[in-house]
Amino acid sequence: MRQTQWANGLRITAYVLPRQHSIHLRFTKDKLQMFPYQLDRIWNKLTYSGLGVAPITVNTPEELISAIRKTPGAIGYVENTKDMEAVNVVQIEK
């Protein structure tokens, strides 16, 4: 969660969906084992207090994939893995 760069030194750019988006709510709770409002608190502090940079919010899953494709070192989450050319998909098992 607190990692800011990959092993090769490339900066990690995280993309997320809006905080009320159902995929974001599910990913936060099921995979990160956190409640969405906890992420809001941490990210708001980074963004509006000058302490750091929070993930970039995009509006739709399609925008999220397109942003990851264009950005070296970027990560994000999707629900289904159709049309995933030029990105690496890591399946997270329950």
Partner: protein
């Protein structure tokens, strides 16, 4: 001389940072992952009955405006520039106007898979208390009016941050959990309006902050919903009387503030609280031989309950005593020959509220406060019992906020 030079250097640094920031904000062609900009806008109405917390006439006020715009630009792998400009209007609560909230250079000094150390130079926010860094961010704080015991609006401009240097060291692993250590050293410029708020308009001299040192440590055990923190603040002020005529005299003020806090974040329930003790020492000011060093105390406990993804309820109780040996204020009233009523020695607040999210970044908030005592009203040093002639007072506020 050294002090003057230091404050000039910091002022120049702020100008350079502001100029650089405005450059990066307009340079929208820059790569998206290097440049980030965000902002917020909030407007509300507030009605206070029985005190001059917001205005002197007691009417419903729209002086509940908060606007902000910020930018962050990654200069290199380890260097980042960040700044935020805010406009605030809270009536009597703090000075109205535009201000540079923060403007800093963030140097990522060291990082590996467990450790991260950052050095911040310039104007930085106070990151030591539970809500100190987000006190001006309407949607990032728990209520419209924060617990005045800790987040006293009269001290806002001094407590909100400082010009100087700050260090943040974080360590996290799966065995001990997450640790965050913060240290900061700096000073805050004190505007004439801020001086009026603390000392009253009768103080015609100059007040300056000599130094402000703060330390805090936070710990979140592994996979725990709890987070615990402690903090310490030590600051010194000097008042220089106006040689052309002043009701007050040269003075040295010092202030030490210790806090302990806890935060629990469950799925529906959230609990938080802070307890503090402060020592406020005054030498001079009223008369050259005056000397006092009261120990103040305060605390609040707060709970939020998330009914569903849109609606959150709030309940909070807080207490503040300006002198732990005079909690009912009888000594204060006696020593001032009855001119300052006993209820100026404390302030208690019971709050309920709710917030409703229309979308991911659009929220409406409402809250009601029942207060007893006027110990957290301004001016601090010279209370105003003529306007604040009631021990019990109430306020309600409603605020609409949007952020991006």
């Amino acid at each position: 001389m050294l002090c003057k030079l230091k404050s000039k250097t910091i002022e120049n640094l702020l100008y350079v940072l502001s100029a650089l920031l405005s450059f990066v904000v307009v340079n929208i062609e820059a790569a998206e992952q290097d440049l980030h900009y965000h902002g917020f806008i909030a407007q509300g109405v507030i009605d206070v009955n029985g005190s001059n917390f917001v205005n002197d006439n007691g009417e419903v006020s729209s002086k509940l405006t908060e606007l902000g715009i910020n930018g962050s630009y990654q200069l290199s792998a380890n260097l980042r520039l960040a700044g935020q400009i805010v406009y605030l209007n809270g009536g009597n609560r703090f000075a109205e106007g535009l201000r540079v909230d923060y403007a800093l250079l963030d140097w990522s000094v060291y990082k590996n898979s467990n450790w991260q150390a950052n050095l911040f130079l310039g104007r930085f926010k106070n990151n030591h208390w539970l809500y100190s860094s987000s006190r001006d961010i309407p949607f990032a704080r728990p209520s419209i009016i924060l617990p005045q015991s800790v987040y006293f609006d009269g001290f806002r401009d001094i407590a909100v941050g400082a010009d100087g240097a700050a260090i943040k060291i974080s360590r996290s692993d799966d065995y001990y959990g997450n640790f965050d250590f913060n240290f900061s050293y700096g000073t805050s410029p004190i505007s004439d309006k801020q001086a009026d708020i603390i000392l009253s308009t009768d103080a015609k001299g100059d007040v300056k902050q000599d130094s402000d040192i703060q330390i805090s440590l936070y710990w979140q055990p592994t996979f725990s919903s709890w987070r615990f923190g402690v903090s310490y603040l030590d600051t010194v002020f000097k008042y220089q009387e106006n040689s052309l005529g002043d009701r007050f005299f040269d003075a040295d003020f010092s202030f030490q503030f210790y806090t302990v806090n806890a935060l629990y974040e469950g799925e529906s329930w959230e609990f938080s609280g802070e307890v503090f003790q402060e020592v406020f020492s005054t030498e001079g000011f009223y008369v050259p031989t005056f000397n006092s060093e009261p120990t103040g105390q305060g605390m609040y406990v707060q709970s939020r309950y998330k009914i569903n993804r849109e609606l959150t309820l709030l309940a909070r109780y807080e207490r503040f005593y300006s002198d732990k040996n005079d909690k009912d204020g009888k000594k204060l009233e006696q020593e001032t020959n009855g001119t300052v009523p006993a209820y100026f020695a404390y302030q208690k607040d019971t709050t309920i509220g709710l917030s409703y999210d229309f979308s991911s970044n659009f929220r409406l908030r409402f809250e009601y406060h029942w207060l007893q005592g006027t110990g957290r009203l301004t001016p601090v040093v010279l209370p105003n019992p003529e306007v604040n002639n009631s021990k019990n007072w109430q306020l309600w506020a409603m605020q609409l906020m949007y952020w991006f």
